[in-house]
């Protein structure tokens, strides 16, 4: 230590210090960024998550989906559905299903976010399928105009032009999209839950999906410029309102006009 302190006024001391400082900063930066990457990379799961997920699966899902998720008469095989399918189905409470019916209904979540991830980790090991959506496509900062056009071409026929949902055949329906998280919207597009078709990345690019999510966020946040939306169902609810409420008021006025005063 003494030798070091004696050399502190050496002409090269400043240079050595500078090199040392640079190396330290660079090294720290490298460590920090790899930590961040590990956090951002949502597609890798630890072996422990897979193991925990399998336990949860056997306890909660295997009744219908079968041991090893190979499928039974009551539920389909989950090989190749991917982590995104678990994120959507379990994350929105649709799975585990309360009872067999035309379609699984959204309800309060049965599992925590960590448990959902563990089950996703397990299902992802069963076969190649859509991974969990990447954060960069969920920020809602895409192009809402492009997203609106894509939405009208691909989604609006079932989900309604104002994303208010609509009926399908025999008791099935496309749900309204207000209040659905960006990650679940993305997962639904890549996995095609229940009767929704799959919109893979070759059909709508991840950037296109980001634009659609942006559009949905915009229309949800801006509200209705024309007053009460009446469910955004178009002429049905608006006509019903006019025929009942407004005609009722008109009839009321007519009765008042022709009645006698006390």
């Amino acid at each position: 230590m003494k030798a070091l302190s004696q050399k502190r006024r050496h002409p090269l001391a400043a240079l050595a210090l500078l090199v040392l400082g640079l190396m330290l900063t660079g090294g720290l930066y490298a460590v920090v960024t790899t930590v961040n990457e590990a956090k951002a990379d949502t597609t890798t799961f630890t072996a422990q998550q897979v193991e925990e997920g399998e336990k949860l699966f056997v306890a909660n899902c295997a009744t219908c989906h079968g041991l090893g998720a190979s499928g039974t008469d009551a539920g389909p095989s989950l090989a190749g559905v991917g982590a995104a399918a678990v994120d959507f189905q379990v994350g929105t409470g649709r799975m585990p299903m309360q009872m067999q019916g035309p379609q699984a209904l959204q309800k309060p979540q049965q599992f925590t976010a960590d448990q959902t991830r563990e089950m996703a980790a397990y299902v992802a090991t069963l076969g190649n399928g859509p991974a969990l959506p990447e954060e960069q496509y969920l920020d809602g900062k895409g192009d809402a105009t492009v997203g609106g056009e894509l939405f009208r071409v691909n989604c609006a026929m079932c989900h309604n032009a104002a994303a208010a949902g609509g009926a399908l055949t025999r008791g099935k329906f496309a749900p309204p999209l207000a209040g659905v998280s960006n990650s679940h919207i993305y997962s639904a597009m890549v996995t095609g839950p229940q009767n929704m078709p799959v919109f893979n990345d070759a059909n709508i690019t991840p950037e296109g999906k980001r634009d659609i999510i942006t559009f949905l966020n915009v229309i949800e946040n801006q509200g209705s410029p024309g007053g009460a939306k009446l469910g955004s169902l178009g002429p049905v609810s608006e006509g019903l309102f006019l025929w009942t409420a407004v005609l009722g008021v008109i009839i009321g006025f007519t009765i008042w006009l022709t009645s006698r005063t006390s």
């Binding site: 026929m157 399908l168 055949t169 496309a174 078709p197 799959v198 919109f199 059909n203 410029p225």
Partner: protein, 342 residues
């Protein structure tokens, strides 16, 4: 005219004669006895009604002021929220302004103005005198115009009147030209690539994974200079991929798909709505307008709703680069029935 405010009903013979088979007509029972209003008898009530009318007019004044406050007072920025606030108060202001005046006047008339009841007798519908006067007018016209004595004038007038409406009929021609065979053809032809709606990028067969639904236009559509919307309205196609075992193609149509990828016209055969609600598990296609349902596993046969013909299928295959292309145009006209469809 008879003033019934004395309240005595006229005639009650009808009741007396009931049961004697002579009641062909009822006598006019007259008006019920006149009942005085509260404001007619009680000066306090009259004063109260006066105040109520005045208040309704004041509400109208406040409504008009509200309109101006909203019009000049609400600062519009670029958001919809401020526009919505302004619109709400403009509407409410005008509504109160109009309703206040209207209800005020009606209340005034009902509560304060004189309310004696009046009955007016109906005029006789037709008198012989009027009929003769009308006949005389016609006779005078015939006599004074001399139309019987001057057949030249009469005949040329008939000719002129008969010809005059013809231009109105002739301009119906501008509704044309007739569609010719344009209803029987679309942009699809052999080798035309299937492209994504709306950007027009071609689709590879490998892009269409199981359960996918693609909304498709012909690749050449976006290059059209004119008539793009009309062509799009005929040529739009829905592309789906099923398990090949689920498809049951009829004889001669086995090679119209490719590895379970099939393309069907999106135009409903009922009245032409876009049938784009694809359920990927039941393989049903649902038309949102009238709920016609088509079964993809039976070549889009109608299984529910008012449509009568299945959706036309577009025969497809892949080209050397792996892109999906049409084998030909549709084999039948797409969309709803029309007169010359045959």
């Amino acid at each position: 005219m008879g003033n019934h405010s004395d309240g005595s009903p006229t005639g009650s013979d009808a009741v007396a004669k009931a049961g004697h088979n002579e009641v062909d007509t009822f006598q006019d029972p007259g008006l019920p006895p006149h009942r005085l209003r509260l404001a007619d008898t009680d000066p306090k009530a009259a004063k109260r009604a006066e105040r109520q009318v005045a208040w309704l007019f004041v509400i109208s004044i406040i409504g008009t002021l509200m309109f101006f406050v909203a019009y000049f007072g609400v600062r519009l920025d670029d958001t919809i929220a401020t526009l919505r606030i302004q619109n709400t108060f403009l509407g409410l202001g005008v509504a109160f302004a109009m309703l206040g005046i209207g209800t005020g006047i009606v209340h005034w008339a009902r509560a304060l103005m004189p309310d004696h009841e009046v009955a007016e007798e109906r005029h006789e519908l037709r008198t012989e005198e009027d009929r003769l006067a009308a006949v005389k007018i016609v006779d005078d016209i015939l006599e004074e115009t001399g139309i019987k004595r001057r057949p030249l004038i009469r005949n040329t007038l008939i000719g002129a009147v008969a010809l005059a409406p013809l231009p109105a009929i002739a301009i119906f021609r501008d509704l044309g030209p007739l569609p010719g065979d344009s209803m029987h053809h679309t942009l699809w032809k052999e080798g035309e690539r299937l492209a994504r709606d709306p950007d027009g990028t071609p689709i590879k067969a490998s892009d269409v994974t199981m359960g996918s639904a693609f909304h498709v236009i012909p690749e050449s559509l976006n290059k059209l200079e004119t008539g793009k919307l009309n062509e799009k309205a005929k040529a739009v196609v829905l592309l789906m991929r099923l398990n090949p075992e689920d498809l049951n193609p009829s004889a001669g149509r086995e090679d119209w798909g490719y590895n379970g990828i099939v393309a069907y016209s999106k135009i409903c055969t009922h009245v032409g709505c876009p049938v784009a609600l694809y359920e990927q598990q039941t393989h049903h296609l649902l038309c949102p307008c009238h709920q016609s349902t088509f079964d993809l596993t039976k070549e889009c046969k109608v299984i529910f709703g008012p449509a009568v013909r299945p959706l036309p299928q577009l025969p497809i295959t892949v080209d050397s680069e792996g892109y999906l292309v049409a084998q030909s145009d549709f084999h039948e006209p797409v969309g709803p029935s029309f007169w010359e469809r045959g």
